[in-house]
Symmetry: C2
Subunit: 459 residues, 2 copies
């Protein structure tokens, strides 16, 4: 194992150059018009996997963006580790807020800046480079590897479940490694043992057929933007609790030991604010900031638009208004049930005579993984070796809907071992990944694979 | 006079063709990038005025969009009528909502459809064609005419007051005719005796320096879109009254006779809804729809934007949010004082730690004009002749800030004689003007000029 880790240093510049090439691909999955860019990125990735030591890598077409699958099979007698990552990225807008262009990766102060740097291209590549380091060290892999890299994670992974169904035999393994989560601090090792789920909705309001003049109708006609304001304002009470009936059903069974584990985090509001880029803390009443993002569900509005938004003044009462909003879910909250509760509640807020249409844009179930399984023991050892201290077993605040999907479809323990930081600005301008963490992630992945060699199983 | 009115019929097709040419000019004043289009429209207009019987017409440069001034002086012994109109138009967005393109005038079912059809190019041209009809009838004008057509009405007329100051002597007259208001119904003659004032503001909210991931920060950080919702929602109470302290100061002296005059209107909610394009009525508690738009002040949100507004889902908590809003004012409400009250109130709604910046985008004072002055008598006679019944003397719901400016600067009675309808869709897609009203407006303007011949004054 040490021989493989020793190979990382001499090749690390090349690993960074490869990541840069990967980050140059504008693989934004959200928009129809960039589908060709996503496909081009898949082709690049499959080629790169073949040249990095995988014995097979292929692009699998789906209804929308392709999945890249790859494997390196050493022996049917060895355990098989599945790996998941995604090569698609969030839109990069607002472009003018980036210090350097989002698809022209730039290194500053030890970080690489680009859309996807940490979410998830940089973290995905840690697994790829862990495999490649074995070839470079002329050391056989201690396990078999099968990797799935999808291009639809940022749009809710619609093609993944059919893919899993079609490749059920191929997807047999002893653990699933996912590198798409964050550390609480740069020097605090942690493994994520839960993820929040998600329901993402769009609300479209309409009053009549065309905009009205605000002089002729001001004060007399229902203004959809006032209705939009009412809906948003009524979502929460003064304690920051969601007011939608039944929202907290199946979300209240917080274990005191979980709160104690979270309390071990070295939380400092100033540091938290700085890492976020200036967020103002206002957690739900009765919970700390670290608690609220890990064990509590919430609803946030993600976008609004309606009426005149150009320069200057236009005296209009618009007839259309739009809201995007999403709920983060915990424990046993079901995304579809939550969607239905939000939908029913929003419909009740809309005055008679207006049209409202509510659509579901994405879902993901909340996830919890066992913290004492054999692969988790391997991950804990790997993290301990890399950081010199025992990792925290932490609930995460984000959502990776595919993890729930894998849990539902595969009989495999999932290991959420990520090296992001909140200050990396994922989904935001100037997203970045520390090159020190990229290297540590590669080394930790190598250690994980070796500690997995004892797992009892085969292909 | 009849000879001039008789000349309208044979030339009406040409008057429509001229209006079409005028409407083809995309003279949107709001945006810097269309300044050349506005200037081109001013040049076209000055040329058209010269060929329509005006003895002088010139383009006067200002700091932004030019003013076109013109005159036809018959004799220093005759009264002089000032006329005001505006050749600039509102932006045409959303373009996809137009049946035919906004700057390609189209005639359907007796209406001409184009941006500016009724506000104000079509109505402005009624005055121009009333002058031209005299030349065509080989009949001398019974009065002198001086006309001011500005290109900044839709952006608050910043250059008009300096222009008035620089042309004070030239602007001496016995009445000021403004054709930029509406009839309550197609067959109900009315003259507008009051206009609502306006304060138009933009609110820019900011929390921190960059967007945040809604997983990592959801439930813990202040979401500016929630603050936006709170501000909008708190603007009004359940009775539809504005909650801003002091908002109704100087606005409450409604005369019972005014409410009686409004009650004479043949208001029907279904017809009102149809004319608006589908508005849902919800007037301030204690007032009818026709009352609320004529005698009550109000606040409406005109536009909102913030966060992700593209296709699909983006899990972001934005750091910026924006609101455009405007107040309509009555009686003695002062637009600057109202702006300051709104500003102070909005600032109080914003949680500590957020930045808020509030800017004033336009103002106009409320206006009332005497309903029994000699020029008003001339206007009443003209309307009576055209419609066969006595016109209502109505308070209007819109704002024409320049009318207050003229009242402050010129010692002249203003006559607000307009032929629009609420169903014309001003400031909205498919704005239109009925050709029957265009013609009736020309004929009424001719009658008005002749009834003004008795006014005692000279150049």
């Amino acid at each position: 194992m040490q021989k493989v880790i020793d190979a990382v240093g001499p090749h690390f510049d090349q690993y960074v150059a490869d990541l840069k090439e990967f980050l140059e691909q504008p693989s934004v999955s959200t928009r129809e018009e960039t589908a060709a860019d996503v496909a081009a990125c898949a082709d690049w990735l499959a080629g790169h996997l073949r040249s990095s030591g995988f014995t097979m890598a292929e692009v699998v077409a789906t209804d929308r963006h392709p999945i890249v699958r790859a494997e390196h099979i050493v022996s049917p007698d060895l355990p098989t580790i599945l790996a998941y990552g995604h090569y698609d990225v969030q839109p990069a807008e607002p472009l003018e807020k980036w210090t350097t262009p989002p698809f022209e990766p730039a290194i500053r102060d030890g970080n690489i800046y680009a859309r996807g740097a940490v979410d998830d291209k940089g973290q995905m590549m840690m697994i790829v480079k862990a495999v490649e380091a074995h070839a470079q060290a002329q050391t056989p892999l201690p396990v078999n590897i099968r990797a799935i890299f999808e291009g639809e994670e940022e749009i809710g992974s619609p093609s993944l479940e059919p893919f899993i169904r079609d490749h059920r035999d191929w997807l047999t393994g002893d653990a699933l490694l996912v590198c798409d989560t964050a550390l609480p601090e740069r020097n605090t090792p942690a493994i994520t043992v839960a993820l929040r789920g998600m329901s993402y909705l769009q609300v479209d309001l309409r009053a009549g057929r065309r905009d009205m003049h605000s002089g002729a109708y001001g004060g007399a006609a229902v203004n959809v933007l006032h209705v939009l304001g009412d809906i948003i304002s009524r979502l929460h009470d003064e304690d920051g609790r969601v007011t939608i009936p039944g929202f907290y059903d199946n979300a209240n069974d917080v274990d005191e030991s979980v709160r104690k584990e979270i309390a071990r985090l070295d939380y400092d509001e100033d540091k938290w604010r700085e890492a976020s880029g200036g967020a103002v803390a206002r957690p739900e009443s009765g919970y700390t900031v670290p608690e609220v993002t890990r064990i509590r569900p919430c609803i946030d509005v993600n976008g609004v638009w309606g009426g005149y938004t150009g320069d200057g003044a236009k005296t209009v009462i618009p007839y259309e208004a739009h809201v995007k909003l999403s709920a983060r879910l915990v424990n046993h909250q079901d995304p579809i049930e939550i969607y239905e509760k939000i939908k029913a509640w929003v419909e009740e807020q809309v005055p008679a005579g207006l049209d409202v249409s509510i659509s579901l844009l994405g879902t993901g179930k909340p996830v919890e993984v066992p913290s004492d399984s054999p692969p988790m023991q391997a991950a804990r050892r790997a993290m301990h070796d890399s950081f010199g201290s025992e990792p925290l077993m932490l609930r995460g605040s984000g959502s990776i809907p595919v993890v729930a999907m894998f849990a539902d479809n595969l009989k495999t323990d999932t290991i959420l071992m990520g090296f992001g930081l909140n200050s990396d600005g994922i989904h935001a301008p100037d997203e970045c990944f520390g090159l020190d963490r990229y290297r540590l992630g590669i080394e930790t992945a190598i250690r994980f694979l070796h500690h997995c060699a004892d797992l009892k199983s085969g292909v």
